[in-house]
Subunit: 314 residues, 2 copies
Amino acid sequence: MRKLAIGIDLGGTNIKGGVLDRAGRLLRRDSIETEGERGREHVIGRVVGLIESLAAASGTPRTDFAGVGLGAPGPMSHKAGVIHAAPNLPGWSSVPIRDILAQRTGLKVTLENDANAAAFGEFTAGAGRGVGRMFMMTLGTGVGGGLVIDGRLERGHFDNAGEIGHMILFPNGRPCPCGQRGCFERYASANAVSERFVEALRAGEPSSLTLTAPPPQAPEVLAAAEAGDGLAARVWRETVEALALGCVNVQHLLNPELIVLAGGLIAAGDALLRPLREAFSRATWRIAPDQPRIEPATLGGDAGVIGAAALAFE
Amino acid sequence: MRKLAIGIDLGGTNIKGGVLDRAGRLLRRDSIETEGERGREHVIGRVVGLIESLAAASGTPRTDFAGVGLGAPGPMSHKAGVIHAAPNLPGWSSVPIRDILAQRTGLKVTLENDANAAAFGEFTAGAGRGVGRMFMMTLGTGVGGGLVIDGRLERGHFDNAGEIGHMILFPNGRPCPCGQRGCFERYASANAVSERFVEALRAGEPSSLTLTAPPPQAPEVLAAAEAGDGLAARVWRETVEALALGCVNVQHLLNPELIVLAGGLIAAGDALLRPLREAFSRATWRIAPDQPRIEPATLGGDAGVIGAAALAFE
């Protein structure tokens, strides 16, 4: 049995990589700049170089590697191994990255959505270890999601399962660049905190914060809320309440044992978790004791690398 | 390999039963009245009698039966084989029905939620045949749901997956007996059509229909809408639009190939399906071609029996 796998997390700013064993231990990690502005071929070369350096540094023969898992952003097809588009990587359109990397490294390659990879990482070695059914929400620029059922990553028929950020939570609500209205991520992402706060400021609502450039971000809104700013407190409370409703919907549709929260917004810690758990308890039904636990992710920036590598073992 | 299974669909009015082969063919069916008012022991006796008569009439030795699947309403535990409560069956509280029936029939028994059983029936022999991932919504008194992933019924950690009727679609919306507000089934069930129409009548909105006893039901509201009644048309349109948003949320969270609609409301046929597909197309995102097909169930009242029997083969 091949005992190691390499995980790569391809982001717009950095390419992170690591070597995982079958026990879910990250034996080695590395991170390099993406240098995406230098074009697709350059970035592919950097990914290949990182894979080679991780494999070489592990001091283990190539035949000991089950393969490489690549987590990447943007619309993609896991089945076809193709990145359709990558908004933060210029020139990446319809790239058959799985086969390109396999050909250049001689290793089996698995392509995965980065939110799915991170969810599978938390399942493998983080907050979801030992849990059969978990849902992870990543609260960052948008809201991503990943779904593990019975110990397996569930991708859906079209490889897009878990896209909770575009669940419609407020019919006829805020417009979303995806073309819908009222998407969950327009209310529950880190960016949505900033956007909604700025809108209210522009509409003339009083606050201790002013409209700076760049505008106040989620951590500043939270700090203002904790310092007694009424507008900031309202925006934070509405964010938490939207998140709670999202958790209720995950509860009823998927009925997991655990919801894991990840992404920039969880830096808020108990200022997010405590009111969220309270709001969830108030919002959910009373007729069955099937409420999932809500816990923060524990792997931080390693989740994507660990999950991508773990998927390469599958 | 045991080649036959018995499916039982225990309802408040009737107990339906049938014999299924492994090809998903319903070889024999029967239906008797539940006589629930005569108490739990009486009903259990009738279920046992129906199982025995189906087994005897099949002319096949008992050893040819893989077992019995029982679909039943109300909160229950598949894992424990216990019906916690059955609102339409007096005296049914914490009944270990799986073990009772197994002991009295000598057959292996599987207990399943009736919405799940019907979904698995449509997957086995109806609209979802050959589909790997489908979601079924049953639009009746409430809205039930069942979820098939990779050919298996997905029950969730707490046996409550697919409870889409209690997905919150309108935050702070209509109160639901479950304790939540804005539940999907308060907008998209057959009963919700009638309830919302009656509320508008009571509020004095003009209509060609009047407040009868019993009040106008979904078919009458639809008929009035088709005859040009403005209020009825609005209530029907809002129902269809809520359904479309529910389909969008299923698309993004579960990403199935197919959404199957069942239950009383689908008697409307194209008056439901055509505007629903249009509303779904308008409401869903533009950024990925991952829209599921939306199709009506094809098994009618047999879905529960077929699905329960098919689950007994599992």
